[in-house]
Protein backbone atom coordinates (compact mmCIF):
# COMPACT_ATOMS: atom_id res chain seq x y z
CA UNK A 1 0.00 0.00 0.00
CA UNK A 2 1.18 3.53 -0.65
CA UNK A 3 1.65 6.00 2.13
CA UNK A 4 -1.17 8.36 3.06
CA UNK A 5 -0.89 11.83 1.54
CA UNK A 6 -2.80 13.51 4.32
CA UNK A 7 -3.27 12.19 7.78
CA UNK A 8 -5.03 13.41 10.92
CA UNK A 9 -4.00 12.04 14.31
CA UNK A 10 -6.30 12.59 17.30
CA UNK A 11 -7.37 16.00 16.06
CA UNK A 12 -9.62 18.02 18.36
CA UNK A 13 -11.14 21.35 17.61
CA UNK A 14 -13.14 23.53 19.95
CA UNK A 15 -14.47 27.03 19.64
CA UNK A 16 -14.29 28.37 23.17
CA UNK A 17 -16.19 25.97 25.40
CA UNK A 18 -17.82 24.18 22.50
CA UNK A 19 -16.09 21.05 21.28
CA UNK A 20 -16.73 20.53 17.61
CA UNK A 21 -14.34 17.75 16.69
CA UNK A 22 -13.28 14.93 19.01
CA UNK A 23 -10.28 12.78 18.41
CA UNK A 24 -10.46 12.53 14.66
CA UNK A 25 -7.98 10.10 13.18
CA UNK A 26 -8.21 9.77 9.44
CA UNK A 27 -6.01 9.25 6.45
CA UNK A 28 -6.37 9.55 2.74
CA UNK A 29 -4.06 8.04 0.16
CA UNK A 30 -3.19 9.07 -3.37
CA UNK A 31 -5.68 7.81 -5.90
CA UNK A 32 -8.27 7.18 -3.25
CA UNK A 33 -11.67 8.75 -2.67
CA UNK A 34 -12.50 9.25 0.99
CA UNK A 35 -16.17 9.94 1.51
CA UNK A 36 -16.92 12.00 4.54
CA UNK A 37 -20.52 11.42 5.51
CA UNK A 38 -22.56 13.05 8.16
CA UNK A 39 -25.76 14.85 8.88
CA UNK A 40 -26.01 18.62 9.10
CA UNK A 41 -24.11 19.87 12.13
CA UNK A 42 -21.98 16.74 12.45
CA UNK A 43 -18.79 18.78 12.07
CA UNK A 44 -18.07 18.08 8.41
CA UNK A 45 -17.52 21.74 7.60
CA UNK A 46 -15.26 22.28 10.58
CA UNK A 47 -13.23 19.25 9.62
CA UNK A 48 -12.66 20.37 6.05
CA UNK A 49 -11.93 23.92 7.16
CA UNK A 50 -9.29 22.49 9.45
CA UNK A 51 -7.84 20.52 6.56
CA UNK A 52 -7.87 23.60 4.34
CA UNK A 53 -6.06 25.80 6.85
CA UNK A 54 -9.02 27.99 7.77
CA UNK A 55 -9.04 26.66 11.36
CA UNK A 56 -6.10 25.38 13.36
CA UNK A 57 -6.69 22.19 15.34
CA UNK A 58 -6.92 22.80 19.10
CA UNK A 59 -4.87 19.66 19.64
CA UNK A 60 -3.70 16.71 17.61
CA UNK A 61 -1.48 16.37 14.60
CA UNK A 62 -1.82 16.85 10.89
CA UNK A 63 0.68 15.09 8.66
CA UNK A 64 1.37 15.45 4.98
CA UNK A 65 3.48 12.72 3.39
CA UNK A 66 4.31 11.60 6.91
CA UNK A 67 5.68 14.91 8.15
CA UNK A 68 3.77 17.19 10.52
CA UNK A 69 2.30 20.32 9.01
CA UNK A 70 0.61 23.38 10.43
CA UNK A 71 -1.30 25.87 8.33
CA UNK A 72 -1.61 29.47 9.49
CA UNK A 73 -3.96 30.42 6.66
CA UNK A 74 -5.71 28.85 3.67
CA UNK A 75 -2.92 29.96 1.36
CA UNK A 76 -0.44 27.72 3.22
CA UNK A 77 -2.64 24.69 2.69
CA UNK A 78 -3.11 25.64 -0.95
CA UNK A 79 0.66 25.92 -1.38
CA UNK A 80 1.04 22.38 -0.09
CA UNK A 81 -1.44 21.19 -2.69
CA UNK A 82 -4.66 21.06 -0.69
CA UNK A 83 -7.48 22.52 -2.73
CA UNK A 84 -11.08 22.99 -1.67
CA UNK A 85 -13.96 23.24 -4.12
CA UNK A 86 -17.16 24.54 -2.58
CA UNK A 87 -20.75 23.77 -3.34
CA UNK A 88 -21.14 26.57 -5.87
CA UNK A 89 -17.69 26.21 -7.37
CA UNK A 90 -16.30 29.19 -5.50
CA UNK A 91 -15.84 31.06 -8.72
CA UNK A 92 -16.79 34.44 -10.09
CA UNK A 93 -20.09 34.45 -11.99
CA UNK A 94 -19.36 37.58 -14.00
CA UNK A 95 -15.86 36.67 -15.10
CA UNK A 96 -14.97 34.77 -18.22
CA UNK A 97 -13.85 31.14 -17.96
CA UNK A 98 -10.29 32.01 -18.97
CA UNK A 99 -10.01 34.93 -16.57
CA UNK A 100 -11.47 33.20 -13.55
CA UNK A 101 -9.41 30.06 -14.17
CA UNK A 102 -6.23 32.07 -13.69
CA UNK A 103 -7.27 34.38 -10.86
CA UNK A 104 -4.17 35.07 -8.79
CA UNK A 105 -1.83 33.28 -11.22
CA UNK A 106 -2.46 35.26 -14.40
CA UNK A 107 -0.39 34.23 -17.39
CA UNK A 108 1.40 37.22 -18.86
CA UNK A 109 3.35 38.11 -21.91
CA UNK A 110 5.42 41.17 -22.64
CA UNK A 111 8.39 42.48 -20.74
CA UNK A 112 9.39 44.63 -17.79
CA UNK A 113 6.60 46.55 -16.10
CA UNK A 114 4.42 46.33 -19.19
CA UNK A 115 3.08 42.87 -18.53
CA UNK A 116 0.00 41.98 -20.48
CA UNK A 117 -2.63 39.50 -19.39
CA UNK A 118 -2.33 36.68 -21.92
CA UNK A 119 -5.99 36.10 -22.64
CA UNK A 120 -5.40 33.69 -25.50
CA UNK A 121 -3.28 31.32 -23.44
CA UNK A 122 -5.61 31.66 -20.47
CA UNK A 123 -8.66 30.74 -22.52
CA UNK A 124 -6.95 27.86 -24.32
CA UNK A 125 -5.50 26.33 -21.19
CA UNK A 126 -8.76 26.66 -19.26
CA UNK A 127 -10.86 25.11 -22.02
CA UNK A 128 -8.37 22.30 -22.55
CA UNK A 129 -8.16 21.54 -18.84
CA UNK A 130 -11.91 21.22 -18.46
CA UNK A 131 -12.34 19.27 -21.69
CA UNK A 132 -9.88 16.67 -20.46
CA UNK A 133 -12.45 15.94 -17.81
CA UNK A 134 -15.02 15.14 -20.43
CA UNK A 135 -16.92 18.43 -20.27
CA UNK A 136 -16.82 18.99 -24.00
CA UNK A 137 -19.60 21.52 -24.03
CA UNK A 138 -17.18 24.18 -22.83
CA UNK A 139 -15.33 25.38 -25.91
CA UNK A 140 -15.14 29.15 -25.56
CA UNK A 141 -12.98 30.62 -22.82
CA UNK A 142 -14.70 33.98 -23.15
CA UNK A 143 -17.98 32.69 -21.82
CA UNK A 144 -19.02 33.90 -18.42
CA UNK A 145 -18.93 31.50 -15.49
CA UNK A 146 -22.47 32.54 -14.66
CA UNK A 147 -23.63 31.07 -17.97
CA UNK A 148 -22.47 27.57 -17.07
CA UNK A 149 -24.59 24.93 -15.43
CA UNK A 150 -23.91 23.96 -11.83
CA UNK A 151 -22.18 20.74 -12.88
CA UNK A 152 -20.02 22.52 -15.42
CA UNK A 153 -18.98 25.04 -12.78
CA UNK A 154 -18.03 22.28 -10.37
CA UNK A 155 -16.10 20.46 -13.05
CA UNK A 156 -14.31 23.65 -14.02
CA UNK A 157 -13.39 24.32 -10.41
CA UNK A 158 -12.05 20.79 -10.00
CA UNK A 159 -10.13 21.01 -13.27
CA UNK A 160 -8.68 24.30 -12.08
CA UNK A 161 -7.55 22.82 -8.77
CA UNK A 162 -5.84 19.87 -10.49
CA UNK A 163 -4.28 22.08 -13.13
CA UNK A 164 -2.53 24.01 -10.40
CA UNK A 165 -1.12 20.88 -8.86
CA UNK A 166 -3.61 19.91 -6.17
CA UNK A 167 -2.68 16.63 -4.51
CA UNK A 168 -5.54 16.61 -2.06
CA UNK A 169 -8.88 17.69 -3.42
CA UNK A 170 -11.57 18.54 -0.90
CA UNK A 171 -15.03 18.62 -2.43
CA UNK A 172 -17.61 20.24 -0.19
CA UNK A 173 -21.00 18.82 -1.14
CA UNK A 174 -20.33 19.18 -4.87
CA UNK A 175 -23.52 17.41 -5.87
CA UNK A 176 -25.93 18.82 -3.29
CA UNK A 177 -27.42 21.51 -5.49
CA UNK A 178 -27.36 19.55 -8.73
CA UNK A 179 -29.85 17.55 -10.71
CA UNK A 180 -29.32 13.86 -11.41
CA UNK A 181 -27.59 14.28 -14.74
CA UNK A 182 -25.40 17.16 -13.59
CA UNK A 183 -24.41 15.21 -10.50
CA UNK A 184 -23.31 12.26 -12.62
CA UNK A 185 -21.05 14.60 -14.62
CA UNK A 186 -19.40 15.70 -11.42
CA UNK A 187 -19.02 12.13 -10.19
CA UNK A 188 -17.30 11.25 -13.44
CA UNK A 189 -14.91 14.15 -12.91
CA UNK A 190 -14.19 12.85 -9.41
CA UNK A 191 -13.34 9.42 -10.86
CA UNK A 192 -11.02 11.08 -13.35
CA UNK A 193 -9.27 12.97 -10.56
CA UNK A 194 -8.83 9.72 -8.67
CA UNK A 195 -7.38 8.07 -11.75
CA UNK A 196 -4.77 10.81 -11.90
CA UNK A 197 -3.56 9.85 -8.46
CA UNK A 198 -5.17 12.67 -6.51
CA UNK A 199 -6.38 12.05 -2.97
CA UNK A 200 -10.02 13.11 -2.96
CA UNK A 201 -12.04 13.95 0.13
CA UNK A 202 -15.66 13.96 -0.89
CA UNK A 203 -18.13 15.48 1.54
CA UNK A 204 -21.73 14.62 1.01
CA UNK A 205 -24.88 13.47 2.66
CA UNK A 206 -26.10 11.72 -0.42
CA UNK A 207 -25.23 8.10 0.24
CA UNK A 208 -25.84 7.04 -3.36
CA UNK A 209 -23.29 9.51 -4.65
CA UNK A 210 -20.79 8.46 -2.01
CA UNK A 211 -21.19 4.79 -2.87
CA UNK A 212 -20.74 5.47 -6.56
CA UNK A 213 -17.23 6.85 -6.20
CA UNK A 214 -15.95 6.12 -2.70
CA UNK A 215 -13.14 3.73 -1.74
CA UNK A 216 -13.10 4.59 1.90
CA UNK A 217 -15.88 5.95 4.07
CA UNK A 218 -15.91 7.90 7.29
CA UNK A 219 -19.08 8.81 9.11
CA UNK A 220 -19.12 11.78 11.47
CA UNK A 221 -21.67 12.05 14.24
CA UNK A 222 -21.62 15.02 16.59
CA UNK A 223 -17.99 15.71 15.86
CA UNK A 224 -16.72 12.17 16.42
CA UNK A 225 -15.80 9.49 13.96
CA UNK A 226 -18.66 7.01 14.25
CA UNK A 227 -17.44 4.64 11.58
CA UNK A 228 -14.47 4.25 9.31
CA UNK A 229 -14.67 1.46 6.75
CA UNK A 230 -13.69 0.47 3.24
CA UNK A 231 -15.79 0.00 0.15
CA UNK A 232 -18.10 -3.00 0.27
CA UNK A 233 -17.97 -3.40 4.02
CA UNK A 234 -21.36 -1.87 4.67
CA UNK A 235 -24.59 -1.66 2.78
CA UNK A 236 -26.38 1.48 1.76
CA UNK A 237 -28.98 1.00 4.47
CA UNK A 238 -26.38 0.59 7.16
CA UNK A 239 -24.63 3.78 6.10
CA UNK A 240 -27.86 5.77 6.06
CA UNK A 241 -28.69 4.50 9.53
CA UNK A 242 -25.23 5.44 10.76
CA UNK A 243 -25.53 8.96 9.40
CA UNK A 244 -28.85 9.45 11.12
CA UNK A 245 -27.28 8.43 14.39
CA UNK A 246 -28.42 4.85 14.38
CA UNK A 247 -32.09 5.53 13.85
CA UNK A 248 -33.83 3.25 11.48
CA UNK A 249 -33.99 5.77 8.70
CA UNK A 250 -33.34 3.13 6.11
CA UNK A 251 -36.70 1.58 6.89
CA UNK A 252 -38.41 4.84 6.18
CA UNK A 253 -36.34 5.20 3.09
CA UNK A 254 -37.27 1.77 1.82
CA UNK A 255 -40.87 2.44 2.71
CA UNK A 256 -40.94 5.62 0.67
CA UNK A 257 -39.17 3.92 -2.17
CA UNK A 258 -41.87 1.30 -2.35
CA UNK A 259 -44.56 3.92 -2.43
CA UNK A 260 -43.23 6.56 -4.73
CA UNK A 261 -40.34 5.05 -6.62
CA UNK A 262 -36.75 6.13 -7.14
CA UNK A 263 -37.23 9.90 -7.33
CA UNK A 264 -38.56 10.18 -3.81
CA UNK A 265 -35.81 7.97 -2.51
CA UNK A 266 -33.22 10.32 -3.90
CA UNK A 267 -35.04 13.20 -2.26
CA UNK A 268 -35.09 11.64 1.18
CA UNK A 269 -31.38 11.07 1.36
CA UNK A 270 -30.55 14.51 0.06
Amino acid sequence: MNKPVLELKNVNKSFGPIDVLHNITLQVKAGEVLCLLGDNGAGKSTLIKTLAGVHKPTSGEMLMDGEPVSFARPKDAADRGIATVHQFGGTFPLMSIGRSFFVGVEPTKGFGPFKVFDKKTANEVAVKAVQEFGITRITDGDRLIGGLSGGERQSLAIARALHFGARVLILDEPTAALGVKQASHVLRVVMEAKKRGVAVIFITHQVTHAMAVGDHFAVLIRGALAANFMKGEKSREEITDLMAGGEALADLDAHLEDNTGQGAAAATVS
Binding site: A78, T91, F92, P93, M95, F102, V103, G147
Partner: protein, 337 residues
Protein backbone atom coordinates in the same frame (compact mmCIF):
# COMPACT_ATOMS: atom_id res chain seq x y z
CA UNK B 1 -26.57 21.82 -30.76
CA UNK B 2 -24.62 24.21 -32.94
CA UNK B 3 -20.88 23.87 -32.67
CA UNK B 4 -19.29 26.88 -31.02
CA UNK B 5 -16.01 27.77 -32.59
CA UNK B 6 -14.76 30.38 -30.21
CA UNK B 7 -13.52 32.31 -33.21
CA UNK B 8 -13.26 36.05 -32.67
CA UNK B 9 -15.19 38.15 -35.08
CA UNK B 10 -17.92 40.59 -34.35
CA UNK B 11 -21.40 39.23 -34.65
CA UNK B 12 -24.54 41.06 -33.65
CA UNK B 13 -25.13 38.52 -30.93
CA UNK B 14 -21.75 38.90 -29.31
CA UNK B 15 -22.04 42.67 -29.61
CA UNK B 16 -25.34 42.59 -27.78
CA UNK B 17 -23.65 40.75 -24.94
CA UNK B 18 -20.90 43.30 -24.56
CA UNK B 19 -21.56 45.24 -21.40
CA UNK B 20 -20.75 48.53 -23.12
CA UNK B 21 -23.47 48.16 -25.74
CA UNK B 22 -26.14 49.66 -23.51
CA UNK B 23 -23.93 52.63 -22.74
CA UNK B 24 -23.17 53.16 -26.40
CA UNK B 25 -26.85 53.10 -27.34
CA UNK B 26 -27.57 55.51 -24.49
CA UNK B 27 -24.92 57.92 -25.67
CA UNK B 28 -26.03 57.85 -29.29
CA UNK B 29 -29.68 58.38 -28.39
CA UNK B 30 -28.91 61.24 -26.01
CA UNK B 31 -26.53 62.88 -28.46
CA UNK B 32 -29.00 62.74 -31.34
CA UNK B 33 -31.74 64.10 -29.10
CA UNK B 34 -29.74 67.16 -28.07
CA UNK B 35 -28.21 67.61 -31.51
CA UNK B 36 -31.72 67.83 -32.91
CA UNK B 37 -32.82 70.35 -30.30
CA UNK B 38 -29.56 72.26 -29.92
CA UNK B 39 -28.93 72.54 -33.63
CA UNK B 40 -25.70 73.48 -35.34
CA UNK B 41 -24.10 75.20 -32.37
CA UNK B 42 -24.25 72.06 -30.27
CA UNK B 43 -22.57 70.03 -33.00
CA UNK B 44 -19.84 72.59 -33.66
CA UNK B 45 -16.72 73.35 -31.64
CA UNK B 46 -18.39 75.44 -28.91
CA UNK B 47 -20.91 72.70 -28.26
CA UNK B 48 -18.26 69.98 -28.14
CA UNK B 49 -15.96 72.00 -25.93
CA UNK B 50 -18.79 72.75 -23.55
CA UNK B 51 -19.63 69.13 -22.82
CA UNK B 52 -16.11 67.81 -23.16
CA UNK B 53 -14.89 70.24 -20.48
CA UNK B 54 -17.54 68.94 -18.11
CA UNK B 55 -16.83 65.33 -19.11
CA UNK B 56 -13.09 65.71 -18.52
CA UNK B 57 -13.46 66.91 -14.93
CA UNK B 58 -16.00 64.35 -13.82
CA UNK B 59 -14.46 61.68 -16.06
CA UNK B 60 -11.06 61.81 -14.39
CA UNK B 61 -12.78 61.02 -11.10
CA UNK B 62 -15.30 58.56 -12.53
CA UNK B 63 -12.51 56.22 -13.72
CA UNK B 64 -11.13 55.24 -10.28
CA UNK B 65 -14.60 55.46 -8.72
CA UNK B 66 -15.69 52.95 -11.36
CA UNK B 67 -12.78 50.63 -10.62
CA UNK B 68 -13.64 50.79 -6.94
CA UNK B 69 -17.25 49.94 -7.74
CA UNK B 70 -16.10 46.97 -9.84
CA UNK B 71 -14.08 45.81 -6.84
CA UNK B 72 -17.19 46.19 -4.69
CA UNK B 73 -16.53 49.50 -2.93
CA UNK B 74 -17.90 53.05 -3.01
CA UNK B 75 -15.98 56.26 -2.60
CA UNK B 76 -17.95 59.29 -1.45
CA UNK B 77 -14.94 61.16 -0.15
CA UNK B 78 -13.95 62.46 -3.60
CA UNK B 79 -16.33 65.36 -2.94
CA UNK B 80 -14.14 66.65 -0.14
CA UNK B 81 -10.79 65.74 -1.65
CA UNK B 82 -11.32 68.20 -4.51
CA UNK B 83 -11.59 71.31 -2.31
CA UNK B 84 -9.01 69.96 0.15
CA UNK B 85 -6.37 69.44 -2.51
CA UNK B 86 -7.07 72.68 -4.32
CA UNK B 87 -6.91 74.52 -1.01
CA UNK B 88 -3.62 72.80 -0.19
CA UNK B 89 -2.15 73.76 -3.56
CA UNK B 90 -3.39 77.35 -3.31
CA UNK B 91 -2.11 77.79 0.23
CA UNK B 92 1.32 76.31 -0.52
CA UNK B 93 1.88 78.07 -3.83
CA UNK B 94 -0.35 81.13 -3.43
CA UNK B 95 -0.23 82.03 0.24
CA UNK B 96 3.29 80.82 1.03
CA UNK B 97 4.49 81.56 -2.54
CA UNK B 98 6.30 78.24 -2.90
CA UNK B 99 7.01 76.92 -6.41
CA UNK B 100 3.98 75.57 -8.28
CA UNK B 101 5.37 72.04 -8.18
CA UNK B 102 5.32 72.07 -4.37
CA UNK B 103 1.67 73.08 -4.37
CA UNK B 104 0.84 70.39 -6.92
CA UNK B 105 2.67 67.66 -5.02
CA UNK B 106 1.14 68.85 -1.75
CA UNK B 107 -2.35 68.71 -3.23
CA UNK B 108 -1.80 65.26 -4.70
CA UNK B 109 -0.47 63.99 -1.37
CA UNK B 110 -3.69 65.10 0.29
CA UNK B 111 -5.59 62.91 -2.16
CA UNK B 112 -3.29 59.92 -1.68
CA UNK B 113 -3.45 60.27 2.09
CA UNK B 114 -7.24 60.45 2.18
CA UNK B 115 -7.39 57.42 -0.11
CA UNK B 116 -4.97 55.54 2.12
CA UNK B 117 -7.05 56.29 5.22
CA UNK B 118 -10.22 55.20 3.42
CA UNK B 119 -8.60 51.96 2.32
CA UNK B 120 -7.13 51.26 5.71
CA UNK B 121 -10.44 51.68 7.53
CA UNK B 122 -12.33 49.67 4.93
CA UNK B 123 -9.90 46.75 5.05
CA UNK B 124 -9.29 46.75 8.81
CA UNK B 125 -12.91 47.04 9.92
CA UNK B 126 -16.19 45.62 8.74
CA UNK B 127 -17.75 49.04 8.17
CA UNK B 128 -19.09 49.30 4.61
CA UNK B 129 -17.04 51.61 2.40
CA UNK B 130 -20.10 53.78 1.76
CA UNK B 131 -20.19 54.76 5.43
CA UNK B 132 -16.41 54.94 5.87
CA UNK B 133 -15.99 57.33 2.96
CA UNK B 134 -18.92 59.52 4.03
CA UNK B 135 -17.32 59.82 7.46
CA UNK B 136 -13.94 60.61 5.95
CA UNK B 137 -15.58 63.11 3.62
CA UNK B 138 -17.01 65.11 6.52
CA UNK B 139 -13.76 64.95 8.45
CA UNK B 140 -11.77 66.21 5.46
CA UNK B 141 -14.34 68.94 4.79
CA UNK B 142 -14.06 70.14 8.37
CA UNK B 143 -10.28 70.10 8.33
CA UNK B 144 -10.16 71.99 5.04
CA UNK B 145 -12.42 74.73 6.35
CA UNK B 146 -10.64 74.90 9.69
CA UNK B 147 -7.17 75.10 8.20
CA UNK B 148 -8.16 77.63 5.55
CA UNK B 149 -9.70 79.93 8.14
CA UNK B 150 -6.76 79.42 10.49
CA UNK B 151 -4.05 80.11 7.93
CA UNK B 152 -5.69 82.55 5.57
CA UNK B 153 -8.65 83.75 7.59
CA UNK B 154 -10.89 83.23 4.60
CA UNK B 155 -12.78 80.47 2.83
CA UNK B 156 -11.15 81.17 -0.49
CA UNK B 157 -7.51 81.47 -1.46
CA UNK B 158 -6.37 82.85 -4.77
CA UNK B 159 -3.33 81.77 -6.73
CA UNK B 160 -2.07 82.95 -10.09
CA UNK B 161 -0.04 80.12 -11.62
CA UNK B 162 2.98 80.73 -13.79
CA UNK B 163 2.38 80.42 -17.54
CA UNK B 164 3.96 76.96 -17.83
CA UNK B 165 1.85 75.45 -15.04
CA UNK B 166 -1.19 77.19 -16.39
CA UNK B 167 -0.59 75.79 -19.87
CA UNK B 168 -0.17 72.25 -18.55
CA UNK B 169 -3.08 72.15 -16.14
CA UNK B 170 -5.45 75.04 -16.69
CA UNK B 171 -5.29 76.37 -20.25
CA UNK B 172 -8.20 76.66 -22.62
CA UNK B 173 -7.06 75.64 -26.06
CA UNK B 174 -8.55 77.94 -28.72
CA UNK B 175 -10.19 79.63 -25.78
CA UNK B 176 -12.64 76.73 -25.57
CA UNK B 177 -11.17 73.29 -24.93
CA UNK B 178 -9.80 72.85 -21.44
CA UNK B 179 -6.45 71.08 -21.45
CA UNK B 180 -7.84 68.65 -18.87
CA UNK B 181 -9.66 66.92 -21.74
CA UNK B 182 -6.27 65.54 -22.79
CA UNK B 183 -5.43 64.58 -19.24
CA UNK B 184 -8.74 62.75 -19.10
CA UNK B 185 -7.98 60.82 -22.29
CA UNK B 186 -4.56 60.01 -20.86
CA UNK B 187 -6.16 58.68 -17.70
CA UNK B 188 -8.59 56.63 -19.79
CA UNK B 189 -5.63 55.00 -21.54
CA UNK B 190 -3.86 54.27 -18.24
CA UNK B 191 -6.96 52.85 -16.60
CA UNK B 192 -7.80 50.81 -19.68
CA UNK B 193 -4.36 49.26 -19.55
CA UNK B 194 -4.64 48.65 -15.83
CA UNK B 195 -8.08 47.03 -15.85
CA UNK B 196 -8.23 45.19 -19.15
CA UNK B 197 -4.67 44.47 -20.20
CA UNK B 198 -2.49 44.17 -17.14
CA UNK B 199 -2.81 41.03 -15.01
CA UNK B 200 -3.80 43.10 -11.96
CA UNK B 201 -7.03 44.07 -13.70
CA UNK B 202 -8.10 40.48 -13.25
CA UNK B 203 -7.69 40.87 -9.52
CA UNK B 204 -10.05 43.84 -9.48
CA UNK B 205 -12.80 41.77 -11.09
CA UNK B 206 -12.10 38.83 -8.80
CA UNK B 207 -12.22 41.09 -5.76
CA UNK B 208 -15.64 42.38 -6.76
CA UNK B 209 -16.88 38.92 -7.67
CA UNK B 210 -16.01 37.14 -4.44
CA UNK B 211 -13.57 38.65 -1.97
CA UNK B 212 -13.08 35.43 0.00
CA UNK B 213 -12.23 33.33 -3.06
CA UNK B 214 -9.99 36.08 -4.34
CA UNK B 215 -8.02 36.07 -1.11
CA UNK B 216 -7.79 32.29 -1.11
CA UNK B 217 -6.46 32.44 -4.65
CA UNK B 218 -3.53 34.43 -3.31
CA UNK B 219 -4.57 37.94 -4.31
CA UNK B 220 -3.38 40.60 -1.84
CA UNK B 221 -6.91 41.90 -1.42
CA UNK B 222 -6.18 44.48 1.28
CA UNK B 223 -3.30 46.05 -0.59
CA UNK B 224 -5.34 46.14 -3.76
CA UNK B 225 -8.30 47.81 -2.04
CA UNK B 226 -6.08 50.43 -0.41
CA UNK B 227 -4.37 51.03 -3.75
CA UNK B 228 -7.70 51.57 -5.50
CA UNK B 229 -8.83 54.07 -2.86
CA UNK B 230 -5.52 55.90 -3.24
CA UNK B 231 -6.06 56.06 -6.99
CA UNK B 232 -9.42 57.69 -6.50
CA UNK B 233 -7.95 60.13 -3.96
CA UNK B 234 -5.17 60.94 -6.39
CA UNK B 235 -7.50 61.60 -9.30
CA UNK B 236 -9.87 63.71 -7.22
CA UNK B 237 -6.87 65.73 -6.03
CA UNK B 238 -5.73 66.09 -9.62
CA UNK B 239 -9.07 67.62 -10.57
CA UNK B 240 -8.90 69.93 -7.55
CA UNK B 241 -5.47 71.16 -8.58
CA UNK B 242 -6.53 71.60 -12.20
CA UNK B 243 -9.41 73.73 -10.94
CA UNK B 244 -7.04 76.03 -9.06
CA UNK B 245 -4.89 76.43 -12.15
CA UNK B 246 -7.91 77.10 -14.31
CA UNK B 247 -9.93 79.43 -12.11
CA UNK B 248 -6.99 80.85 -10.13
CA UNK B 249 -8.64 80.39 -6.77
CA UNK B 250 -9.55 77.62 -4.35
CA UNK B 251 -12.82 77.45 -2.41
CA UNK B 252 -13.47 75.36 0.68
CA UNK B 253 -16.90 74.44 -0.60
CA UNK B 254 -17.59 72.93 -3.99
CA UNK B 255 -16.86 69.48 -5.22
CA UNK B 256 -19.98 68.00 -3.64
CA UNK B 257 -21.61 67.62 -7.04
CA UNK B 258 -18.80 65.27 -8.06
CA UNK B 259 -19.87 62.61 -5.59
CA UNK B 260 -23.11 61.70 -7.26
CA UNK B 261 -22.05 62.79 -10.71
CA UNK B 262 -19.11 60.40 -10.75
CA UNK B 263 -21.25 57.52 -9.53
CA UNK B 264 -23.86 58.37 -12.12
CA UNK B 265 -21.29 58.32 -14.94
CA UNK B 266 -20.04 54.96 -13.75
CA UNK B 267 -23.47 53.36 -13.47
CA UNK B 268 -24.68 54.81 -16.78
CA UNK B 269 -21.46 53.31 -18.13
CA UNK B 270 -22.65 49.82 -17.23
CA UNK B 271 -20.69 49.13 -14.07
CA UNK B 272 -22.58 46.86 -11.72
CA UNK B 273 -23.45 48.51 -8.39
CA UNK B 274 -22.74 45.23 -6.62
CA UNK B 275 -19.30 44.90 -8.21
CA UNK B 276 -17.68 42.26 -10.35
CA UNK B 277 -18.45 43.70 -13.75
CA UNK B 278 -17.77 46.84 -15.73
CA UNK B 279 -15.35 48.33 -18.23
CA UNK B 280 -13.32 51.46 -18.82
CA UNK B 281 -14.92 51.98 -22.23
CA UNK B 282 -18.29 51.85 -20.51
CA UNK B 283 -17.24 54.42 -17.93
CA UNK B 284 -15.96 56.64 -20.76
CA UNK B 285 -19.29 56.39 -22.59
CA UNK B 286 -21.25 56.92 -19.39
CA UNK B 287 -19.28 60.07 -18.67
CA UNK B 288 -19.87 61.38 -22.19
CA UNK B 289 -23.59 60.68 -21.93
CA UNK B 290 -23.78 62.46 -18.61
CA UNK B 291 -21.92 65.49 -19.93
CA UNK B 292 -23.99 65.73 -23.09
CA UNK B 293 -27.19 65.83 -21.07
CA UNK B 294 -25.68 68.25 -18.59
CA UNK B 295 -24.66 70.76 -21.25
CA UNK B 296 -27.11 69.91 -24.00
CA UNK B 297 -29.89 71.38 -21.90
CA UNK B 298 -28.50 74.87 -22.33
CA UNK B 299 -28.10 74.52 -26.05
CA UNK B 300 -31.57 73.08 -26.42
CA UNK B 301 -32.98 76.07 -24.54
CA UNK B 302 -34.85 73.75 -22.20
CA UNK B 303 -35.51 74.39 -18.56
CA UNK B 304 -32.31 73.22 -16.74
CA UNK B 305 -34.45 71.29 -14.30
CA UNK B 306 -35.43 69.01 -17.15
CA UNK B 307 -31.77 68.06 -17.38
CA UNK B 308 -31.89 66.63 -13.87
CA UNK B 309 -35.03 64.69 -14.75
CA UNK B 310 -33.33 63.24 -17.82
CA UNK B 311 -30.25 62.27 -15.85
CA UNK B 312 -32.40 60.65 -13.19
CA UNK B 313 -34.31 58.69 -15.81
CA UNK B 314 -31.06 57.70 -17.53
CA UNK B 315 -29.70 56.36 -14.28
CA UNK B 316 -32.74 54.18 -13.73
CA UNK B 317 -32.69 53.00 -17.32
CA UNK B 318 -29.00 52.23 -16.99
CA UNK B 319 -29.44 50.08 -13.91
CA UNK B 320 -32.30 48.23 -15.57
CA UNK B 321 -30.36 47.62 -18.75
CA UNK B 322 -27.26 46.61 -16.79
CA UNK B 323 -29.35 43.88 -15.27
CA UNK B 324 -30.74 42.69 -18.57
CA UNK B 325 -27.38 42.74 -20.30
CA UNK B 326 -25.97 40.70 -17.47
CA UNK B 327 -28.83 38.25 -17.79
CA UNK B 328 -28.11 37.99 -21.52
CA UNK B 329 -24.47 37.27 -20.86
CA UNK B 330 -25.38 34.62 -18.31
CA UNK B 331 -27.84 32.95 -20.65
CA UNK B 332 -25.15 32.28 -23.19
CA UNK B 333 -25.35 28.56 -22.45
CA UNK B 334 -29.06 27.96 -22.43
CA UNK B 335 -29.39 29.01 -26.07
CA UNK B 336 -27.60 25.90 -27.27
CA UNK B 337 -30.15 23.37 -26.13
Amino acid sequence: MEPKTGAKGISLGSLARRPETGSLIGFVVVYIFFAALGGKVFMSAPGWSSWLNIAAEVGIIALPVGLLMISGEFDMSVGSVIPASSMMAAILSGHYELPAIVGILGGLSVGLLVGFVNGLIVTRTTIPSLIVTIGVMFAVMGMTLGLAVMIKGSTSVSYVPDPLTKSILGQFINGMFNVSIFWWLGFVAVFFYFLHISPIGNWVFALGGDRESARNAGIPTDKLTIGLFMMSGFNAAFVGIAQVMTYQSAQVAGGQSFIFNSIMCVVIGGVLLTGGAGSVVGILLGTMTFAVVNQGIYFAALDPNIGSIIIGALLLAAVLSNDSFRALAMNYATKKK
